[in-house]
Structure formats: C-alpha cells, structure tokens
C-alpha cells in the first residue's frame, strides 16, 4: 500500500533528514553522560529509539541521546552511566535523554515526561553538568540523590535526599537541599519549598492530580497551554537561525565544489577550514536545539495533552454534547492547532 505523507518543513529540504540522522547518531555515540546502559529491569519496559523503533529493553540495552524509556504498570528500569551515576525509571513513566546547545556548550537533558525517575549522581557528570527536566521545569544538580515526579496534568515535583538541586520554572528558581521538596505546576513558578516526609506515593499523587484536572479541565489545559507557548517561543527563536545557517552552509559548499572543479586546492582548503567547518558546527548545534524544543513540545502534546484528552473524553463518552466537554474540546483544538502550525512541520514520521 502506498501512502503519501505530507511533507514537513525539515524534510522538504533535500538532505536535511539525512543530516539530522547522521548528526544525531554521531552525538549519541560520543561523550560522557550522553548515553546510559540498562543494568537492571523488570516488568514491561520499552526503548523508543531516536530512529522511531519501540523495542523491549534488555540487560545491556544502550540508551542514547534522542531515545526514550517507556515503562508499563509493572516496569522498572535502572540505567548506569560512566562515572557511576545511576538513573532509575519507575513504573508508568516516560524518560527521555536529549541534547541541546546552550551557553556555548552541548548539554545533556534528562527529562521525566511522566511518572517518577530517581537519580544518583556519583559526581558532577561532565562539563557542563546535565540538566534534569520535566515538561514544566528544569533543575541544575550539584552532585546529589533525588527523585523527579511528573503528573498527567503537567505538574512536577522534586524531592532531594542528598545534595542540592536548583529548580527553575517560568523565570524563577528555588534551591532545594537535603530532605526538601517542591512542586511546580505546569506553566507556573516553583511552589513553596516543603520538608520531605518519606517518599511520595506517585500513583496516589498522580490520581489526585487527575481528579483535580477532572474538576476543571479547561483551567488545567490552560496551564499546559502556557507551557506549550514557552516551547513554541523557544523553538521560534532558534528555527530561523538554523534555516539561515543551513542556507549559508549550502552556499559555501556549492562554492567549494566550484573551486574543487577548477582545481584550486589551496582555496578549497582555506574555504573548508575558515568557513565550512565552523558553519557545520554551528548548524549542528542549531539543529540540535531545534530538535530539542520540537521534541519537548511533542512530548507535552502527546503524553500530557493526549492523556488529558483521553481522560476527559472517557468521562463524557456517554454525553459528548456536554457543555463543559465542548468547552474543553474547543480549547484543546485551539492548542493543538498552535502545535500543528508551529512544531509539526519540523517533525518527521520517525518521531511518532
């Protein structure tokens, strides 16, 4: 059966998907803390690779930048990194490992999209340190043991057992030290720092969040919409930079070919070292960040908004003409439209 897939913004440009793939495979294969190995697992757990496949994890499975771990009701996965750092992905969770370019450095970002993920960093994991994120917040680590929870409504919670974590969201930060916790609602600044009394029952906490969401789904969706707006705004900042750099690179490569055909070896070498190589690095860093924001928006859309749609639709399945449900669907459709217009053209079928 032949299917026609609508062209995307990236794939509309000849050579770009190949470039992206080679690049992503390249970064995945190098560097400290850019990959992790499965050292223990139980129950249902799958690795969704950057190339789009969904396969059960096994002992020794390597998780590279661009990959996600998706666990089932009974699934737990432990990942070890070079240097002794350890990541434990609990049941019903989605955990992603990504790369982005920030402050003149490539940075690893470990995101708890949904569920619970515990971290034990034996030492600062390379330079720069990895960022720990959820759909609504980012945390900087200072050598520590902590757990990150992400609820179905986009709320996140950080619990620090040892060391220190700086949690940032919506332009504000709070520092957590040993035995402290903080919650961050989607699109909001961090909440009040609280003392940690035992570990959280994620299932109960998430159920409460889903109940709260059911009480006022439009408000919950609105909060997630703010987060989506943030992702789209960041994407919109970097995407034109990538397009400009790529165009510049293509022009210089054409010039290089011309000089090569004319046999001007010295000029070829000069153009290559002075312009093309620096441009390749800049373009690579730009596409890395474009992908980071696009995939972050996709995760929010798929795992948070998607689940909200599912829960609310099932709640009203006997009466889809309900006024509240209609208001929710209207709002959902509006947000989805923004996502489709801004982000989908930069995704590829393998992302789904």
């Amino acid at each position: 059966m032949k299917r026609v897939v609508q062209s995307s913004r990236l794939s509309a440009r000849p050579g770009v998907p190949t470039f992206v793939l080679f690049f992503l495979l390249g970064i995945a294969a190098t560097g400290f803390s850019q990959q992790a190995e499965v050292t223990y697992f139980q129950g249902t757990a799958n690795l969704k690779s950057g190339s789009g496949s969904l396969t059960p994890v096994d002992f020794g499975t390597t998780m590279n930048a661009g990959d996600s771990i998706v666990t089932g009701n009974d699934g737990v996965v432990q990942l070890d990194q070079t240097g002794g750092s350890q990541i434990t992905v609990q049941a019903n969770s989605v955990f992603t490992l990504q790369k982005r370019y920030q402050d003149s450095n490539q940075q690893t970002v470990m995101t708890t999209v949904l569920g619970a993920v515990s971290y034990r960093f034996a030492k600062l994991a390379g330079s720069p340190e990895p960022a720990i994120a959820t759909m609504s917040s980012v945390a900087g680590i200072r050598g520590t043991v902590f757990t990150v929870y992400a609820a179905s409504d986009g709320t996140s919670r950080y619990e620090v057992t040892e060391g220190m974590v700086e949690v940032s969201s919506a332009g504000q930060s709070v520092d957590l030290t040993q035995n402290q916790a903080v919650e961050v609602a989607a699109g909001a600044v961090p909440g009040k720092v609280e003392a940690l009394h035992g570990s959280l029952d994620y299932s109960k906490w998430n159920s409460q969040k889903e109940q709260d969401f059911s009480q006022n789904p439009v408000a919950a969706l609105d909060a997630v919409g703010k987060q989506m707006d943030t992702f789209i705004a960041e994407f919109d900042k970097i995407e034109p930079v990538y397009v400009r750099l790529k165009s510049e690179l293509d022009t210089n490569r054409a010039e290089l070919k011309k000089l090569f055909d004319e046999g001007k070896k010295d000029e070829v070498q000069k153009l290559n070292s002075d312009k093309i190589r620096p441009l390749e690095i800049e373009t690579t860093n730009a596409i890395l960040t474009v992908r980071y924001w696009a995939l972050s928006a996709l995760s929010l859309r798929k795992y948070v908004m998607g689940r909200m749609f599912l829960i609310n639709t099932l709640k009203h399945i006997r009466n889809l003409d309900d006024t509240n449900y209609k208001a929710f669907v209207d709002h959902f459709t509006k947000l989805d439209r923004s996502f489709r217009a801004a982000i989908v053209p930069s995704l590829v079928p393998l992302d789904i």
Partner: protein, 177 residues
C-alpha cells in the same frame, strides 16, 4: 517428436512438461498471494474483539492492542494510556452489538462495515499529519477498518489478523457521528 503413451493415447512430452510447470506455478502463485490478498477480518476475530469488550475483559483487549495505539487523533505508546482507554470504555458500559459485527460474507456485498485501510483512512480518525504518520508507520498493509455498533454509538476499529502476532488492534475512533 518424442511422445508418451498413456492409456493408448499419446501426449507430446513438451506439452506435458509445460502443463506440469503451469500447474506448479499456479499453485505457487496462489500460495504466495494468500498472504497479500486484501480480505476482511475473520468472523472469529471480530467476534473475539466484540466478546472481549462485552465481557469487560481489559486484559484480553490489552493483549490484542498494538504497543503504539491511536485513539481518535491521539497516539499512545504507554500501556497505562491504552489500559485507561479500554478500562474507561468498559466502565462506561460499552456493549458491542455482536449481531451487527461485520462478517466476511457481509463485507463482500458492497455494504461493507469492514474496509481495507488505505492511504486516506487516517482521516477517519483525525485529519492530521501525526495521524497520517501513525497509519503509515504503525498500521501494516492488509489491516482493516471495521465499524463496531455499540450502545455508546458507532466506533471505528483498525485491526489485522494476518500477521504472526494473530489479532492486533491498532486503534479506535469514535463515537463517530
């Protein structure tokens, strides 16, 4: 020409060989095409799906569900989400009208509620690029889109029963108007 005597009749051996070859080729073609000829879901497949829903057997439904699953325009790859979907429908009291399930015989007569999945089938779930990609990547050729008449309305279900995995459900949409 060399001939073969059989029951008093003579056959040219070349013709005999050609005939044999034609038979072998025909059988081979028939066998090869069995797996690639579009055909409706087996009645036992649709019955199994309908019975699992009516019995509230979420475990059976989950066992039949693809790891990547579409509900309307949403694509899920977490078992919890797929479980929430089936549990939610069962808890809402969804009952399939088994008598209205498509059968092989019915779907051949042009009044089909069992259709092949085509390049535009995704639009019945959601007219979006993501859903198009889901169908392209995760719904294999020869899958079928059937209509389930239920007490909650009509639902579209995409499934196949031709692969090694037996019955696999790839998605559900509805209730459709």
């Amino acid at each position: 020409m060399e001939t073969l005597q059989t029951n008093g009749k003579s056959f040219p051996s070349v013709h005999r060989l050609l005939g044999l070859t034609a038979c072998v080729v025909t059988v081979a073609l028939i066998l090869a095409s069995c797996a690639s000829v579009p055909r409706p879901l087996k009645p036992e497949t649709t019955a199994a799906i309908g019975n699992a829903i009516n019995a509230g057997s979420v475990d059976r439904l989950l066992a039949m569900s693809s790891r990547t699953f579409a509900f309307d325009g949403e694509v899920f790859d977490r078992s919890q989400d797929i479980s929430t979907l089936w549990n939610g429908l069962v808890q809402a009291g969804m009952k399939v009208n088994l008598a209205a399930l498509p059968s092989g015989a019915k779907s051949m007569d042009g009044q089909s509620t069992d259709q092949p999945v085509t390049s535009t089938s995704y639009k019945k779930f959601s007219d979006s690029t993501i859903t198009d990609w889901f169908f392209s990547r995760h719904v294999p050729p020869l899958s079928r889109m059937i209509t389930l008449e239920t007490n909650l309305g009509s639902f579209l279900l995409v499934a196949s029963d031709t692969g090694k995995m037996g019955t696999v459900i790839y998605g559900l949409a509805g209730p459709v108007k």
